[in-house]
Assembly symmetry: D2
Homo-oligomer: 345 residues x 4
């Protein structure tokens, strides 16, 4: 059994980590930190865990966390994460960080879109925790930077096309739609039920912070610098991201060749499901699971390829992928604790 601590455990990603890890066959949760809920029991904060867990939240402290655990999940916001993570690493613990702080190769990109970086030397060491692309590097890592939710859906959706040089990398338009839990549990008027329900809107058009993270990985796949249009939208559902991704084909390709290329690319992947021709993902088909479902359509009228990818933003887009990274770090079977099937309806 590996002993695991979660720092910043009082948001939705923290809660989702608890849900998954409580049923993980090789994990003991030993500490949960929260400044806000310090001293309260888990089931007071999250009644869903009534009768399942005795732990109380403690204030964030490197000492407490490191004394009790082997691996630490950080679900802190960006900027706060980089204040705590270096010390935890120094004390010999492994870290899976769910913030943006260690996702970038170039500190100047982080600084342009986020804020100043106080331990940029760790950027070189940190592994971008998308197992489908970086599994081998993650195996021996000390620090895994868990990808953002939108980036996970878009990068997995485009990787085969870019790797195979099927499309013009400069023609990419990614139109993404997310459930509301992507905004976290922070209390804001715009996320009140009445403001969201029966609504649908775009937000941060051309300006969302996940843009450079997506572009970094697409550029590496394409072998050239890629700039994309990325527009996030808010769907009135709790969970799920669906990305509709447009790009121009640069060679003649048939629908079935496309699907065959995806199937081959993800052949060994437990959590990527490629849909047969004419079938397309729905966020309700991945709810509660670590799957990324992908459907592909070639449009001969416009020579555009349209890729649809769907994930649960709290699982494959956050906590589930973090557990997948834990499994890789610790040598557990990669699906441990994240094998459950979609809750539908």
């Amino acid at each position: 059994m590996v002993r695991v601590a979660i720092i910043g455990a009082s948001g939705y990603t923290g809660q989702e980590l608890i849900r998954l890890l409580l049923r993980h066959p090789h994990v003991d949760i030993t500490a949960l930190t929260s400044r806000k809920f310090d001293g309260m029991s888990v089931s007071e904060v999250f009644p869903v865990f009534s009768g399942e867990m005795d732990l109380r939240f403690v204030p964030p402290s490197t000492g407490t966390v490191c004394d009790t655990s082997d691996v630490v999940f950080s679900a802190l916001p960006h900027k706060v994460a980089m204040d705590m993570v270096p010390e935890i690493l120094e004390r010999g613990k492994k870290v899976v960080d769910l913030s943006a702080d260690f996702r970038f190769n170039a500190p100047e990109v982080y600084e342009e879109w986020y804020c100043g970086h106080t331990c940029s030397k760790l950027l070189k060491e940190a592994v971008y925790g998308l197992p489908e692309l970086y599994r081998d590097q993650a195996r021996n890592a000390r620090l895994v930077a868990n990808p953002g939710c939108y980036p996970t859906s878009i990068i997995l959706g485009l990787a085969p096309l870019l790797k195979n040089k099927t499309i013009d990398p400069q023609s990419i338009v990614a139109d993404s739609k997310s459930g509301v839990s992507g905004a976290g549990r922070t209390v804001a008027m715009e996320h009140l039920f009445c403001e969201v329900d029966q609504g649908f809107k775009a937000y941060k058009i051309g300006q969302h912070r996940h843009t450079p993270e997506i572009e970094q990985e697409l550029s590496l796949l394409a072998g050239e610098e890629v700039v994309i249009s990325f527009t996030p939208h808010l769907i009135p559902v709790n969970r799920g991201i669906l990305s509709t991704i447009y790009s121009k084909a640069i060679k003649d390709i048939s629908q079935s060749e496309l699907i065959a290329a995806y199937t081959e690319f993800y052949e060994e992947e437990r959590f990527v499901r490629i849909y047969p021709p004419g079938l397309f993902p729905n966020i309700s088909y991945v709810k509660g699971t670590n799957f990324c479902d992908i459907g592909i359509q070639f449009d001969p009228r416009t020579k555009r390829i349209i890729v649809i990818s769907a994930i649960d933003n709290l699982v494959k887009g956050a906590s589930g992928q973090a557990v997948q990274n834990l499994n890789i770090l610790c040598g557990f079977p990669e699906g441990s604790g994240i094998e459950s099937l979609p809750i539908f309806p």
Copy 2:
């Protein structure tokens, strides 16, 4: 008072026509047809109208309809509409048709995407009922072809850009999202509550029948043949369409110039609202109304212009626009009966 009949009145667009016309200051509803609900009273079929109306549905018959009315709304499905409309016109009535049957200038386009056309000579005469573009032609028309819901949102969203030659017309990607009432009241498993709620999906990718209708009007605006990518999606809400429309700018233009151009283009329009910089539409801001709300963003990184347009698919996207066309046909103030404000939340 003008006497109005509605044929095919038992679906959601029929119901919405009844809702609007019952409060229209210059209209009497004189006949409602429905094969399915023949003989039943309106309030049995639509309990929302309890105590408001005595009419009973009658079977569709040109005679009954023409004997009692001056203007006829047809809310029949495509193909069925073109079987009844010609005779109604011959009997001297004016018709606002909500199907696709009279929207196309070229019969061969209709026949490619729909089915054979049995009265294609009427296509020349029919006016495409988008008042913002064809108001003058509609004033003296006998037959108005009420636009589709997706086309209304996309054409109004792009008209200023194409008219002003601001964009490359071949670069358009229209990613649209619709509430479920767009699918009508037809009983199908895929529209059961449990199949839709908490879900989100794309459908008919690259193949939706509104594509040629949109392309016809964009081509006329651009002065060249335009081919677009159009992807509809299903949002788990009752009403509303939001279209996110991408295109490449072909000249240098600032955000404020763009908004000024839209404001000028729609200056006289009662039902188009242009948003100030940084604000964007939400389908919940137009619910129950005839408004088309438009927000515009220029992205200097990609030179793409992103237009967001929002309508209520049952009002501006169908029945409200049909009433607007009635008002134009009859010389009533254009907002008669469709002035109500959004229901929010």
Copy 3:
């Protein structure tokens, strides 16, 4: 035209008053107060009113309000209302108050459930603004206390049974369910979209402040002191209250006699709709309207009568009823400005 001011206009009931009054044929809105949004324009705070209104919010001040208006709606919270209303009355204005401050006949009841009362002498004068019961008194009132949302649905649901002495008044159980807008626009974690959607719960069981208001009016109808069980619940919808009300019949009565008694009791009422046998209300059949829909079932197995009543909590349960009271106060036709039909779906 009567000039109307709204104080405390930045919540959902304030917004709903604006929506209704902007289309009221005999009203000009002359002032809107909000401490929070002081100086902002209405359409910045409520984008739904874009292009419809130029007013800016001003801070609450008796002077400003009284100088510009003939009638004042107060949408302030309880306790705050009673600080401003007396002065407005002294300056000769009429007031429709939407808080609980003037709904009680006995100050001690208010003080037990709310807080100390600072102008209890006004309680005698204030008219409880349920037009179906107190229309005559309201005609010449200076101060109308607009009823609570739950009380409106329950009192209208039970009035015929109590007035006709059909039931044991001590046997009443009122199980009510409300949409989330009943909680107002106040920002609280428990009303975040993700906390509410896909959920359903009871709250304030046996302790909700509307209990004594309901009991006051039921006692007057019954001619004896009535104590009830009242349990509110939260439905994941924006609008609507449905109350399921159980009571024991004390005499033999048939289903059709019951419905006839209701129909007779509400014969002259524009906004109460009695359903035929076997049909029952749905909150979606009253959405956006001032209707109270009522269905009745007698259960011979238990000798209980089950009444179902449905209203839109923001219209008949708040702002629509307030406009109805304005119409009565000013001698306008009672339906002015509140005649619109349900938005369905």
Copy 4:
């Protein structure tokens, strides 16, 4: 490993059985029957199972089913179930039946509320599959009649009060609210998304078929014949039942004594969670799980006890409880395959 067949596997309870059994450590699913989807693969019918299962649906046939399995789940509708179950038992298989056909002790009650019974001799043998009350009898049963969803929530909610003679059994009012999946996957206009969303209604008032099932078990607990008022309602969510249950206390009892009595009654129960004073269940706290959550409030003003119980109608209210019964029948740990925690949000 026990080999399990599911007959009538194409509805929501069938699908939920598949979801749970695919991850059950001691079960192999060997046959799935469906007349409607005969020959289709599971993942065509339920895309959520893509990549998880190869089985194809076969037509319902006792032979096929019995040849391949040790235990049979029947998810057939009532009446259809009793045509197949007897033969399966004769062939030596054990059966967990999810219909109403074997839930009643008295055939005449079944016949009054449902239809004629063709194998009423099995009623004596069948065990009512509510493990919290009938675990011992189920251990050696051949035929377990899995309880209805509403009955599960109401019987578990009231058992301690009736067993301890705390309440007047004739004073019970059960006001229940269910998500839409309770209606199954049958295609009907009233369950279309647009008819349900933003709505809330009561249905089958005083006439729902679960009434006699509830009364049978409450009568056994009370030791006298109990007649109740039971009103089901439809919540616009996918899953969950919350019952608000009113009854008159017949002795003085404090809130804390009440909660202590419940805690003691359910002390050994893995799947019943009693809430501390002041906290109450929410259907979103049990989503996807086999829990029944219970909160209790004593109202000194009315001497009524209000019990709130919440379950997931597809899990503890159907398929999860069926798996719990399988575990009991087969001697597996009772939580096998149904241990997962709530998906929230």
